[in-house]
């Protein structure tokens, strides 16, 4: 033991975050193998000359998290203590705390953020810091825009759709002044949001679906909207009314005699332009649950469906390029661009990471287990490429680090991982499998606002790591 404690290992410290780069060249350090994460973190802080505000760091050796001492890590991974270890330090994930919650009248089905660093904010480029806006879509059919101090800035008018259900399933900022929302009435609507007058007005109705819309994806620069529907199709729309063709008449609310009658009884003064889809992507055999644009290429889209497949679409030709079949219904999708991975949440309570590139031979690169119910929403950490946020019907949102994995025992699953942190709903520190009353429907991770999650408890909950 005495000898083991004395044993030293050469390490080379590095980081990818320029803000915490060590100023002087440290070269190769010789440290004791008995050091653990905490001590290494202190060492880095000393090197950074951080005396007051010390930053907790996570230590990665060869891309894997150090959880015990270096000694144990070396033993587990079979690394000789004589080789120089490449030790990477990153800001540790501070457990997010519940900072705020936005009360709604009904279940909140979707939440989105407009901030300086969010996609819509980047696209519009006109969002000031401190002017973050939170968009929530609810089952009562209303869109709400909130500021950060829990005030409702604007609420949309219920749409006039001939007495149909108005429940919204998804909503997204496309610009700082434009919102896209869709729901069970199978219509995708584009709203205009005026921050000065604080109004949400409907700008466009897009008809192409015969069943409810489950998810939409937006791409600001090209004004494109993708909508995934339960009718097994995906539609591509333009946010500009003029770009879209005329709406198919059989899908308009006034197409049937009965609904026309109903429509007339509740006619509003303003008429909203109705348009059809640019293209319809067919290929899925079951309801499509989620769709996204490829982050760096808006001509490519990915979609997941209840038919167990993840499909890659080429939008200009509106063809399905690639199909990946998994073993379970896929309910959510998020892209991890730097890792070339797609994360999908399944009805079988786990998250599967899939490499969508054609060269990839393995279907599932990684499987993250820990949820107790279907994983219906996913988002990635805006600050690092490794963290993943998931929302599930079991009433929790969980944070994952794809580096925190080990080889799985199940064949074909790749590596298996466990969640780093679990966010429970406010006032419900436990979760049941069925998640009754607590289901999380939507999660977002924004670098300014924090972690947002919306759910059955009629709240949008914001969690943020204090001090991070």
């Amino acid at each position: 033991m005495e000898l083991a404690a004395e044993q030293k290992v050469p390490i080379r410290l590095s980081t990818r975050d320029p803000s915490i780069q060590i100023a002087e060249e440290t070269g190769v350090l010789l440290v004791q193998t008995s050091l653990n994460r905490l001590k290494l973190s202190a060492l880095v802080n000393d090197l950074l000359h951080k005396d007051e505000r010390r930053i907790p760091f996570d230590i990665l050796i060869n891309g894997k998290f150090l959880r015990a001492t270096i000694d144990e890590f070396l033993t587990q991974n079979g690394i000789s203590p004589e080789t120089t270890l490449d030790v990477e330090y990153t800001r540790a994930l501070v457990p997010p705390l519940n900072v705020r919650s936005f009360e709604h009248d009904d279940w909140v089905s979707a939440v989105d953020v407009l901030s300086q660093s969010s996609a819509a904010g980047v696209w519009s480029g006109a969002v000031q810091s401190g002017q973050e806006r939170i968009l929530s879509a609810s089952y009562d059919g209303l869109l709400r825009v909130w500021d950060m101090s829990e005030n409702v800035l604007a609420t949309s008018q219920p749409p006039n759709n001939g007495g149909r259900i108005t429940s919204l399933k998804t909503a997204k900022w496309i610009w700082d002044k434009k919102i896209v929302a869709a729901g069970l009435d199978s219509t995708v609507r584009v709203f205009k949001y005026d921050d000065d007058t604080r109004t949400i007005t409907q700008a466009l109705e897009l008809y192409n679906h015969r069943w409810g819309v489950e998810d939409i994806a937006v791409h600001g620069p090209s004004n494109r909207i993708l909508s995934a529907s339960s009718d097994t199709t995906i539609s591509l729309f333009s946010a500009n009314a003029k770009d879209n063709p005329a709406a198919p008449s059989n899908l308009l609310p006034n197409s049937t005699a009965a609904s026309n009658k109903r429509l007339k009884t509740s006619r509003s003064e303003r008429t909203v332009p109705a348009r059809g889809a640019l293209t319809t992507l067919t290929g899925h055999s079951s309801p499509v649950s989620s769709v996204i644009f490829k982050p760096d290429d808006a001509t490519v889209a990915y979609s997941t469906s209840h038919d167990h497949t993840l499909r890659t679409w080429d939008l200009p030709t509106s063809t399905c390029v690639d199909t990946r079949t998994t073993g379970h219904s896929l309910l959510s999708l998020a892209a991890m661009p730097k890792l070339n991975l797609l994360a999908t949440g399944t009805s079988a309570r786990h998250i599967t990471l899939i490499d969508p590139r054609a060269s990839a031979t393995q279907i599932a690169v990684m499987t993250l287990r820990g949820h107790k119910n279907a994983v219906v929403s996913l988002d990635v950490d805006p600050s690092t490429e490794y963290n993943l946020l998931s929302g599930s019907h079991d009433g929790t949102a969980q944070i994952w680090d794809v580096r925190n994995v080990r080889p799985s025992t199940v064949v074909g699953e790749g590596q298996a991982g466990e969640s780093v942190y679990t966010i429970f709903r406010q006032g419900a520190p436990h979760s049941h499998g069925h998640g009754e009353g607590l289901k999380v429907f939507s999660v977002r991770w924004d670098s300014e606002v924090g972690i947002l999650s919306a759910g059955e408890d009629k709240r949008v909950q914001i969690n943020r790591a204090i001090g991070a």
């Binding site: 259900i165 069943w211 209840h306 073993g327």
Partner: protein
């Protein structure tokens, strides 16, 4: 020297025999020894023998000295002076060597010599017990003492003549004819030497005690007397020489077990018998002190090492090779336990009577039924020895030797192992395992659930008369309508068509056809409306009439339900004659069958949607109809009554098959999508699998529920799953794989029990329905909830 020694020895030998004068000899002998040692010329081995002999005799002579002293004391002093004078005279004649002898010895010798002289003066009177007195003539007069009759006092057998030459070697007399003088001063003549022949004869006839020596004193052959031989014998045997010594005296038992009337010792019991011993107390205290100081361990646990050291074990079986389990071991056959008649004291009814006894005795030994005769003894100790013991042992050994037991190979197979192995449920994934959503919000029991063909919505109907539609995954209620105020909604069923969305629900005697348009797109709504509206006017245009012209009441009345329901989307209602419990759609969606168990002849009705037509296929139905179902691919219609299931060919309008599950009361059936298998749930807690091609009896009976089974359902989307719902609140999921091959039977594996529904008024799960594609199922509970399991 040697002859000298012999002579002396001979002289000494005589000494004890003599009395009185022999003391002088003894003294003289002493002197002689002493003088000899003075002018010793050499040492011979004989000396030892000499000294031994002399010491023995010396011991004897010591006693004599004492006696002599006493005698001297008795002598009168006056006489002594005379005797001394005479002695001096004598001494001068003696040889000079005597002078060297010390005074004490000299005086002693004087006395003895004077005595001897005085003796010698008396004529042949050897008696020493006398005193010398002077008689009247002046001559010494010997006055003899009274002879004390003590041991050794009698010397009458003493030899008459003794040579009194003193301590002079006999060789001095070689030149003389005599060899010395006797006590009276007469010459003792040399004994005549016999002739050689005499000597030879002597040597042949050896008398007892013959030594071959010549007595130096007498010159005669020296023979040992009887007593001397005895002494010698004892000496050689290392025995005590003393006469009369008994080495083994009679034991005297002073302390014996015998209780004496008078104890040997009359002393009272000593006090020490009653007082604790101080000595012992001291010793005990010493030990106690040692224990306290720890010098002595009061208890030392037996040291294992010591034991091991002491004992040496030899492993006899060290080289033993392991043998296989002895296959030749045959256990002895088990004997019947002994009966009453085998007892030594049996009850009288077991004792044989005289005739039986005679018969037993008369029978041949091999013919006897029992090999013993029951006998009665009063006590066990009176039972005599077993007379046939040896014979029986012998026969037993003979049996073992001549008739070894035979090993009969018995087929010993666990019947379980013959059954085919059921696959592990983990290998049969996916199947529902956990509750994914709870649909809450209904009052009273939920009686029926149905999932729409898209797998998006769930419809439920219950006791509160509402039909509700829910979003399947989230559990959000999206549509509802109250069909009836009084009646419960007994069944709901989506029309199996993805192009439109029509829900059939039954409350009471009415069947409602619903288009929940608020959750449908206008396109879907229009399609559905078109389907429902197609039949309007059909029935009116073709009124059915009987032969006598009277308009016959149609079995089902198709109508609009009224504006309030129509606003909700309930577009058509069909009223039949009795309460509808079951609706089942035909796969194409144009027909649906309803079952009203109480409706006697109108129990089973088939409705045509496109014509708004209700038909009663059975004029008369045997038994009470429970449920009815269309074949998934053929024009075959299954009707289940309480006990049987009948299948009818609708095209040919004939009975195809009667299945008899053997159940008391069938609750529900479901047809496998392949069409060749039927599962039957019964109220008597059994789930039966029927293979239509196999037999009319069930292929498998599964009895896992504690309560009645309410509903059974196959997965219709291609997964080999089926489920049942029971009154015990649980659902059971089974794997039921049907293979196309007719030779192979279906594999049925129980997979999972899903618990969650609470039992209310003895009702648990009321209905179960599978998702059209996924391995998810929904159950309706009596506790007012539906649950989605995935």
């Amino acid at each position: 020297m040697a002859p000298n020694a012999r002579k002396r020895k001979a002289a000494t030998r005589d000494a004890p025999a003599e009395s009185g004068s022999e003391e002088e000899l003894a003294n003289g002998l002493f002197d002689g020894i002493l003088s000899h040692s003075e002018d010793e010329s050499g040492v011979s081995p004989d000396e030892d023998a000499e000294s031994e002999a002399s010491s023995v005799i010396g011991g004897l002579s010591d006693e004599d000295d004492e006696e002599e002293d006493e005698e001297e004391a008795e002598e009168e002093g006056g006489n002594e002076a005379d005797i001394r004078e005479q002695l001096r005279n004598l001494k001068t004649t003696d040889h000079p060597s005597k002078r060297i002898v010390s005074d004490a010895i000299l005086t002693n010798a004087h006395d003895s010599v004077t005595n001897g002289e005085l003796d010698g003066q008396e004529d042949e009177d050897p008696k020493p017990n006398y005193t010398v007195a002077i008689d009247a003539n002046g001559n010494p007069r010997y006055l003899y003492n009274e002879i004390d009759p003590v041991y050794d006092s009698d010397d009458s057998d003493a030899p008459a003549t003794t040579n009194t030459i003193g301590n002079i070697p006999l060789s001095y007399y070689d030149k003389y004819p005599h060899i010395g003088y006797d006590i009276n001063g007469r010459k003792i003549m040399r004994p005549a030497k016999g002739e050689a022949l005499d000597a030879l004869l002597d040597s042949i006839d050896i008398p007892k005690g013959w030594t071959g020596l010549t007595d130096p004193a007498t010159g005669k052959p020296l023979n040992l007397s009887e007593e001397e031989l005895d002494v010698l014998k004892k000496l050689t045997r290392n025995e005590i020489v003393e006469e009369g010594y008994d080495p083994y005296p009679e034991m005297v038992y002073y302390f014996s077990g015998k209780q004496e009337i008078m104890p040997l010792s009359a002393a009272p019991e000593p006090k020490r018998r009653f007082v604790p011993s101080k000595h012992e107390a001291k010793r005990v205290m010493k030990i106690v002190k040692a224990i306290r100081e720890g010098r002595i361990q009061p208890y030392k646990p037996p040291g294992e090492e010591d034991d091991e050291e002491e004992r040496i074990y030899y492993d006899v079986w060290a080289d033993e090779k392991p043998r296989p389990e002895n296959s030749m071991h045959l256990p002895a056959p088990k004997l019947p336990p002994p009966g009453y008649d085998a007892s030594y004291h049996p009850p009288p009814e077991y004792l044989p009577d005289k005739a039986e006894k005679e018969a037993w005795l008369a029978a041949d030994e091999e013919d006897r039924e029992k090999d013993y005769l029951p006998a009665n003894y009063d006590a066990l100790r009176k039972v005599p020895g077993y007379e046939r013991f040896v014979k029986e042992r012998f026969e037993r050994s003979l049996d073992l030797y001549l008739a070894p037991r035979v090993r009969r190979n018995k087929l010993n197979i666990d019947p379980e192992s013959l059954l085919p192995k059921l696959p592990n449920p983990d290998d049969l994934k996916p199947f529902p395992t956990t509750c994914a959503a709870i649909f809450r919000g209904q009052q009273g029991r939920v009686r029926s659930v149905s999932i729409d063909p898209h797998g998006v919505f769930l419809a439920s109907g219950g006791d509160d008369g509402f039909v509700r539609i829910w979003e399947l995954l989230t559990g959000r209620e999206v549509w509802q309508a109250r069909l009836s105020d009084e009646d419960a909604v007994d069944t709901v069923k989506w029309r199996p068509d993805t192009e439109c969305s029509i829900l059939a629900a039954a409350a009471g005697e009415t069947i409602y056809l619903v288009v929940p348009f608020t959750i449908l797109s206008p396109d879907m709504e229009q399609h559905s409306r078109d389907v429902l509206d197609a039949g309007w006017g059909y029935a009116a245009s073709k009124p059915s009439s009987t032969t006598n012209g009277a308009i016959k009441e149609p079995p089902g009345k198709w109508s609009r339900p009224g504006s309030s329901l129509e606003h909700k989307g309930v577009l058509v209602q069909v009223t039949v004659r009795s309460m509808v419990k079951v609706i089942n759609w035909h796969r194409k969606g144009d027909y649906f069958a309803t079952v009203s168990p109480r409706g006697q002849s109108t129990a089973v009705a088939i409705h045509t949607l496109s014509k708004h037509l209700t038909q009663l296929p059975f004029r008369r139905l045997k038994g009470i109809a429970q449920t009815a179902q269309f074949h998934p691919s053929k024009a075959i219609f299954f009707v289940a009554t309480r006990n049987t299931i009948r299948s009818y060919d609708l095209a040919k309008q004939e009975l195809v098959k009667i299945l008899q599950p053997g159940a008391k009361w069938i609750s529900s059936i479901d047809v496998h999508p392949g069409g060749d298998n039927i599962i039957v749930g019964t109220y008597d807690k059994r789930l039966l699998w029927h293979d239509l091609d196999l037999s009319t009896k069930p292929y498998k009976t599964l009895r896992f529920h504690q309560e009645a089974i309410r509903a059974v359902r196959f997965h219709q989307g291609g997964l080999p799953l089926f489920a049942d719902a029971s009154d015990d609140g649980s659902l059971q999921i089974f794997h039921g794989k049907v293979v196309g091959d007719l030779m192979e039977n279906a594999t049925i594996v129980p997979l999972k029990v899903l618990r969650g529904h609470k039992v209310k008024s003895r009702l648990g799960a009321m209905d179960v329905e599978w998702h059209p594609r996924e391995p998810w199922c929904v159950s309706a509970g009596a506790d007012g909830t539906c649950r989605l399991w995935n």
